[in-house]
């Protein structure tokens, strides 16, 4: 799972720094955190945030701080509510993408972009969920 996450995050990093402003790295991190709920995702958030800033010519640390804070908030929220649901992922991705784009100074079509981001986040979440289920089944069979 960790290897798969690194490959996916690297792909998102390359796409986000060269062809799109959709926060793909952030969406991948949220989906991962909602499913796995583990500490190593914080570390990925920090590292990939720093790399994203580096390749996008931004001041280092901005994306890292945002990713780590948002992932922390997700874990706090899950103490009281179920977070591994489509509605939660859709909402979290929308609010997170909107805040992230606002933080980076985008102001054109930001709501539309956040909506598209939320849908992409949901697709990633469904894909991860299926991947984890398949992983569990194959490990049981072994």
């Amino acid at each position: 799972m960790k290897l798969f996450s690194i490959v996916l995050l690297s792909l998102a990093l390359v796409l986000e720094s060269s062809v799109t402003t959709i926060p793909l790295v952030f969406l991948s991190l949220v989906s991962l955190m909602v499913i796995k709920k583990e500490n190593w995702i914080f570390l990925y958030g920090f590292l990939f945030g720093a790399l994203l800033d580096l390749f996008s010519f931004r001041t280092l640390g901005i994306s890292s701080a945002f990713f780590v804070t948002f992932l922390f908030l997700i874990l706090l929220y899950q103490r009281k509510f179920e977070i591994a649901t489509n509605y939660f992922v859709l909402g979290a991705c929308f609010i997170g993408s909107f805040s992230f784009l606002l933080l980076l100074g985008f102001n054109n079509l930001i709501i539309v972009e956040s909506l598209v981001s939320a849908l992409i986040g949901l697709l990633l979440f469904i894909m991860f969920k299926r991947f984890v289920e398949l992983d569990l089944v194959s490990s049981k069979n072994l």
Binding site: V14, L15, E16, S17, S18, V19, T20, T21, I22, K37, E38, N39, F42, L43, G45, F46, G49, A50, D53, L54, F55, S56, F57, T59, L60, G61, I62, S64, A65, V68, T69, F72, L75, R79, G105, F106, N107, N108, L109, V112, E113, V116
Partner: protein, 265 residues
């Protein structure tokens, strides 16, 4: 599921690390490390960007591309001719002077142009494969043929980023070609610009071209005069307002660009 204390511990450590990274990055201490890393990543970025240009440009035949290029070149010639007709020999000399600077043009490939929908949405910034080592400095103007593209905003040793003229942070003085109206271009994001702060007494005409007025500073950075910014597509004039406005459309399709030129000092 990790314990709450361990989550908080992780969070605090990483937030502090981000803060340290931010401070080090702001002070420029990390530049010797970040520049080679960006240089390492450039080829990957270039391949992805090139691939995306091919995917999004598959429906545009080479004949249409050629016609577009020819059209741009004809518009450039038309502007030059109109200038020559309208002005006297002094302006012609100025034009010659501008050409003499073309020797300091630095060609650069675009290796990144992130936009909302790749190849469709107009990007806000571009990443170039040339940097400090090639003579590019912050504030240098970026052009394509006679058209103004943007300004260098960040430079590392082997790459740089350009803020497009349509970016919402873009602001510079311009004049219209036929009527010599003066105003300020304000980027609106998403490929849109408005010409603002034009006096009501000035005349703005739909179809007139907008050129840079020239704002080179003492260190030689900024925009040269008479670079093409775009064409007026609509005029908004209200007698009760202090100024009139106009919508401007650039002659360049920013989504299809793969090479630009930086005017070095």
């Amino acid at each position: 599921m990790p314990k709450r204390s361990s989550i908080t511990y992780f969070f605090v450590i990483l937030i502090l690390a981000s803060l340290i990274l931010f401070i080090l990055s702001k002070t420029g201490i990390l530049n010797p490390i970040t520049s080679p890393l960006r240089a390492l990543f450039s080829p990957i970025e270039s391949i992805v960007h090139g691939g995306m240009l091919q995917i999004t440009g598959w429906d545009e035949s080479s004949k249409i591309k050629l016609l577009k290029q020819e059209n741009q070149s004809l518009v450039g010639r038309l502007i030059d001719q109109q200038k020559i007709v309208a002005d006297n020999k002094a302006l012609s000399d100025q034009f010659q002077a501008q050409n003499s600077r073309s020797s300091s043009l630095i060609p650069a490939n675009i290796i990144g142009s992130p936009g909302f929908l790749p190849g469709i949405s107009v990007p806000e910034v571009l990443t170039l494969d040339k940097g400090n080592k090639d003579g590019i400095k912050e504030g240098d103007a970026v052009v394509y043929k006679n058209n103004l593209i943007g300004k260098i905003s960040n430079v590392s040793d082997f790459s740089s980023s350009v803020v497009l003229i349509t970016n919402s942070s873009s602001l510079f003085t311009v004049k219209t070609l036929n009527t010599q109206g003066l105003g300020v271009i304000k980027g609106q994001g998403g490929g849109e610009m408005i010409l603002d702060n034009v006096l009501l007494s000035d005349i703005l005409e739909k179809g007139d071209f907008v050129l840079t007025k020239g704002d080179i500073n003492a260190s030689g950075q900024g925009f040269l005069p008479n670079l093409v910014v775009g064409e007026i597509t609509s005029v908004s004039k209200n007698p009760s307002d202090l100024f009139q406005k106009a919508a401007i459309q650039s002659l360049v399709d920013f989504t299809k660009l793969d090479k630009v030129f930086v005017i070095g000092n």
